[in-house]
C-alpha cells in the first residue's frame, strides 16, 4: 500500500486511481499560472505585465507537455514567447516612452469588471463541475497512427498491419492529421497570415 500510494492513490470517496506526481505537477504549474495571470491584469507597469505574461504562456506550454501535446507546446514557446511577447515589448516601446509605473493603467471603476469576472468564473466552475464531474484523462495519451500498409499489399499483410497497433508519437499523428484531413484549413491559415502581415504593414506605415 505504501509503495503503491507513491505512484497512484485512490481519489477520495472512490476507487479510481489517480497519478499523484502528475497531479502535483499540474497543481504547482496551475498556481503559478493563475498568480501570473492575476499580475498581468493588475500590475501598474506594462513591461512587467509582458514579463508575467511570459510566465503564463510557459506554464500553458508545460500543461500541454503534461497532456502529451508536445508539438503544440513547442509551437507555443516559439510563437508566443518568441514572437508575440517581443511584439508586445515593441508595442510598449513605440507607444509609451516612460517605462516606470503608470497609475492610469486600470480604470477607476475596476470593481465592476472584477464583478463580471467573478460571476463568470462562478458560472463556468459550477457548470463544469456539474457536467464533467467524473471525466478522466487517460493514462496512455499516445494516439494510434494509421496502419502502414504498402500499396499492393496482400490481404494477409493488411490483416497483420491492422492487428499491430501503430502507436507513435503524437507529433507524427498531428502532422498526418494536419496535412490530410485539415489541409484546406491549413492553407487558409497561411493565406490569412500573409493577409494579416500585409495589413499590419499597411496600417502601421507612415504615409
Amino acid at each position: 500500500m505504501a509503495l503503491a500510494s507513491a505512484a497512484s492513490m485512490a481519489l477520495p470517496g472512490t476507487d479510481d486511481p489517480i497519478n499523484v506526481s502528475q497531479t502535483v505537477g499540474f497543481g504547482v504549474i496551475a498556481v503559478i499560472m493563475v498568480v501570473s495571470a492575476l499580475r498581468v491584469v493588475t500590475t501598474r507597469n506594462v513591461v512587467h505585465a509582458a514579463m508575467w505574461l511570459v510566465m503564463v504562456l510557459a506554464g500553458a506550454a508545460a500543461q500541454y507537455v503534461l497532456l502529451a501535446a508536445e508539438f503544440v507546446a513547442v509551437a507555443q514557446v516559439m510563437v508566443y514567447i518568441g514572437a508575440v511577447v517581443v511584439l508586445f515589448l515593441f508595442g510598449v516601446m513605440l507607444t509609451r516612452a516612460r517605462l516606470g509605473t503608470d497609475a492610469d493603467l486600470t480604470r477607476k471603476n475596476w470593481y465592476g469588471a472584477a464583478f463580471v469576472g467573478v460571476v463568470m468564473l462562478a458560472l463556468l466552475s459550477f457548470s463544469l463541475v456539474d457536467t464533467f464531474s467524473d471525466a478522466k484523462v487517460p493514462e496512455d495519451r499516445r494516439t494510434g497512427l494509421a496502419p502502414s500498409v504498402a500499396p499492393g499489399a496482400s490481404a494477409e499483410e493488411v490483416e497483420a498491419a491492422l492487428a499491430d497497433p501503430n502507436v507513435g508519437s503524437n507529433t507524427a499523428a498531428v502532422s498526418d492529421s494536419l496535412f490530410s484531413q485539415y489541409l484546406v484549413p491549413f492553407e487558409v491559415v497561411s493565406v490569412m497570415l500573409t493577409a494579416a502581415l500585409i495589413g499590419a504593414i499597411v496600417i502601421a506605415r507612415r504615409d
Binding site: G27, V84, I203
Partner: protein, 99 residues
Amino acid sequence: MLLNQFLLLAAALFSIGVYGVIARRNGVAVLMSIELILNAVNINLIAFSAVHGDLSGQVFALFVIAIAAAEVGVGLAIVLAIYRNRHSVDLDELDLMKG
C-alpha cells in the same frame, strides 16, 4: 488526472482575461488580456483532445496559435496608428465614434 482540473484552470484564466479586457485602459494591456483568453481556449482544446484520444483538438490549437499571432500583429499596428494620430493609447480617450 481529472479532466475538470484543466477545465477549471482554463475557466480561471478566461475570467482573468475578461477582467483585464474590461478594466485595462492601455491598448497594449488589453491585447495581453486577449492573449490570456486565447490561451484558456487552447488548454480546453488540448484537454478534450487528450480525453477523447482525437488529435483534431491539437490541430485546432495550432490554428488558434496562428490566428492569435496574426491578431496581435494587426492589433498592435492599429494601436501604433492610433498613437501616431492621437498621441495616446488610452482607450477612454478614443471616443471619435461617440454621437
